[in-house]
Amino acid sequence: EAGVVQSPRYKIIEKKQPVAFWCNPISGHNTLYWYLQNLGQGPELLIRYENEEAVDDSQLPKDRFSAERLKGVDSTLKIQPAELGDSAVYLCASSLDRGTGELFFGEGSRLTVL
């Protein structure tokens, strides 16, 4: 069974440029998460989807970040415009059973903003 797939693995951009990350969750997993992981820190939740509905986006900086999960499968996280402080790893995860805390993570997308 394929795991959570993310792309691109690495992205280097100039500040003020836009960037987008894509995630394909494990087949059948209705819940999808985007996490931000700064260097030397644990992941922090940005947004959680139940199917196509964003049920927790309280930590998403909505002035520059946006996300979508059309058709309740793949998801895209966008940053526009990117700032130097956005350099981090963006992790996508999915889960099958609600409330168990067992998340399946992708390998992450490492963003460097110059």
Partner: protein, 116 residues
């Protein structure tokens, strides 16, 4: 708000030895889960072990076991017979068990190196 603290940023251990990773947390709630996640150098994080707060028995998964002290809000992970593949970042995490909410709160992590 719930917080998770991992006070040891880094540890190293010899292969086949036993090592204990510490974690403390803060919450006023009674019904929650605690987890240890492992993030190897490839960066794909995986669940190691899970503990439900209402269960007094400590969880065990093969070489991995926890020491859950609810009153002290302590949740340590013991790795027995350490293997080279155990080298990774280890994150302690907390989740409230209420209404289907699945917000995991992670600690800062601890880098474990297993030496041959």
């Amino acid at each position: 708000a719930q917080t998770v603290t991992q006070s040891q940023p880094e540890m190293s251990v010899q292969e086949a030895e036993t090592v204990t990773l510490s974690c403390t947390y803060d919450t006023s709630e009674n019904n929650y889960y605690l987890f240890w996640y492992k993030q190897p150098p490839s960066r794909q994080m995986i669940l190691v072990i899970r503990q439900e707060a209402y269960k007094q028995q400590n969880a065990t998964e093969n070489r991995f076991s926890v020491n859950f002290q609810k009153a002290a809000k302590s949740f340590s992970l013991k790795i027995s017979d350490s293997q080279l593949g155990d080298t990774a970042m280890y994150f302690c995490a907390f989740m409230l068990k209420q209404g289907g909410s699945e917000k995991l709160v992670f600690g800062k992590g601890m880098k474990l190196t297993v030496n041959p």
